[in-house]
């Protein structure tokens, strides 16, 4: 039982990170029907920015996190403007290939400048305290990851549900032409979506860096892919679905790893993707039919 609870604690903290990343995939898919393959690399840039900030300045965790989020916001918006917007009327496959190109560009540009080796955050960016609650160990880092994800997701829900821009985003996702008839600027709304998703990716990047205590230019690939699976699992395009999907994938992955099948943890996640695509392509919370991804 303790072991199970331990895996749940680990799974929830990993899953919160996946959820943050999955939200970016799902919102972007919702509005322009694109699987943004560069999303994981925006995360990686976020991790490097906070690494640089905490290593080369005396700034602490929170300022580093905010700087990462803002940097990623700008990066996400620029990527959309430069790489995807000119292809607005092209085939979906053309945009998808462009996204893969952007992903490789980010990875290997960074690798050119900093090399392929892994780096670690300096000691003391976050306290290393570990609490033991009835045999279940939970670190301060895990607590911060879970709480921070929770706060960010609530903030996102507030923006999407209650603000005018958020409502416009949902309107554009549902029907671009009808949204135009309201006077909603579709391009600006798409930028806004990338801004939100990329800010969350920036935060997630910092968390991934802390969680594994290691960053490198290719670090965004695996969490990116898994979060994509989470988004599909929850129903791509569906915001609560991404949250539930992220947590589920995180918990499943740590359970598989925790019960001795560590080698298969990644395989298990992708087996889920295949199962979902076969059994319910619209995902856990998706609405019927749904388009193929």
């Amino acid at each position: 039982m303790e072991r199970f609870l331990q895996q749940i604690v680990n799974g929830v903290s990993l899953g919160s990170i996946y959820a943050l990343i999955a939200l970016g995939y799902t919102m972007v898919y919702g509005i322009i029907k694109l699987i943004n393959f560069a999303h994981g690399d925006v995360l990686m840039i976020g991790a490097f920015v906070s690494f640089a900030v905490t290593t080369f300045t005396r700034l602490g965790f929170i300022p580093a996190l905010l700087i990462s989020m803002v940097t990623c916001m700008c990066l996400g918006v620029i990527i959309e403007r430069v790489a995807y917007k000119p292809l607005r009327n092209s085939s979906r496959i053309a945009v998808l290939i462009t996204a893969i190109g952007v992903s490789l560009l980010l990875e290997y540009t960074l690798m050119y400048f900093v090399g392929a080796q892994t780096r670690s955050f300096r000691q003391g960016v976050l306290p290393a305290t570990i609490y033991n609650i009835g045999g279940v160990r939970i670190s301060v880092q895990q607590i911060i990851i879970i709480l921070l994800s929770l706060v960010l997701m609530m903030l996102l829900q507030f923006i999407v549900r209650k603000t005018k821009q958020g409502k416009a985003m949902r309107a554009v996702s549902f029907d671009k032409e009808a949204a135009q008839l309201m006077g909603i600027n579709v391009d600006r709304t798409i930028s806004f979506t990338f801004l939100l998703g990329s800010a969350l990716a920036g935060a997630a990047g910092v968390m991934v860096g802390i969680y594994y205590n290691s960053i490198d230019p290719l670090m965004g690939m695996m969490p990116g892919l898994k979060a994509f699976v989470a988004a599909v699992f929850g129903g791509i395009g569906n915001i609560p679905g991404a949250m539930v999907g992220g947590l589920s994938i995180g918990v499943i992955e740590t359970l598989v790893a925790g019960y001795g099948a560590s080698l298969y943890r990644d395989a298990a996640v992708f087996a889920i993707l295949i199962l979902v695509l076969i059994l319910k392509p619209s995902g856990l919370m998706g609405k019927g039919g749904g388009s193929k991804v």
């Binding site: 949902r170 032409e177 009808a178 949204a179 909603i184």
Partner: protein, 235 residues
């Protein structure tokens, strides 16, 4: 004259949907554009709202050439549309749909007052204000689409087949409301396949056949015209 189309040509790729149409609308009028399925009625409205760019021709509203303005500018200038098939935002609530209709308006107090007015005009929407628009019946969705277009505070409202797929009694109700909206000062440009109803409430009308205007006159003149009787009124 509040609105004018001059020799408007619209293509979809190589297909010519509008072959140079011209029409005028005076402030305060109800003008209808009738025609069979595929005649180009929706294309006309979509071009007026700025969703499609015309190949050539001119769109004039309130004395200004708006041919090259974007969709948002046209809404701001006072042209709003309740599109064919209603196109309400199914996942947004009734209230949120109405808020979207007022997207460009800054004065929150005025917007709130106008929303209450819409609820007054459509009491059923008031009852359902917290429901997602997708749960509404066809007639209710049409009312919401019209209410949403009203929220832009338009000087001219474009209505694309508001009677489509609705029971006769609901159609009557909708047309009565269109009249009321017009009486309250909004110019109406009404596109319909339901020529009988449209000509009954219109001051004037135009007949569109495969991209060309073939006939124009007052509502009564058109209702009495042989071609209209044969093709659109089933006599």
């Amino acid at each position: 004259m509040i609105f004018e189309l001059q020799d408007l040509v619209v293509n979809y790729g190589v297909i010519r949907a509008l072959k140079g149409i011209s029409l005028q609308i005076d402030e305060g009028e109800i003008v209808t554009l009738i025609g069979a399925n595929g005649a180009g009625k929706s294309t006309t409205l979509r071009t007026i709202s700025g969703l499609i760019k015309p190949k050539s021709g001119k769109i004039v509203f309130d004395g200004a050439d708006i041919t090259h303005q974007n969709a948002a500018k046209r809404v701001a200038a006072g042209i709003s549309q309740a599109p064919e098939g209603r196109r309400v935002f199914a996942e947004l609530t009734v209230t949120e749909n109405l808020e979207m209709g007022a997207f460009l308006r800054k004065n929150k107090a005025e917007v709130r007052a106008d929303m209450e007015e819409v609820f007054g005009r459509f009491p059923i929407l008031a009852e359902r204000r917290k429901q997602p628009a997708g749960t509404l019946s066809g007639g209710e969705q049409q009312m919401l689409a019209i209410g949403r277009a009203l929220m832009a505070k338009p000087r001219m409202m474009l209505l694309d087949e508001p009677s489509l797929g609705l029971a006769p009694i609901v159609v009557k109700e909708i047309f009565a409301i269109i009249r009321e909206i017009n009486a309250a000062g909004t110019t109406i440009f009404l596109v319909e396949q339901n020529a009988r109803m449209a000509l009954k409430i219109a001051n004037r009308g135009y007949v569109l056949e495969t991209g060309t205007i073939t006939l124009t006159g007052t509502g009564d003149e058109l209702a009495a015209a042989d071609e209209v009787q044969r093709s659109y009124l089933g006599h």
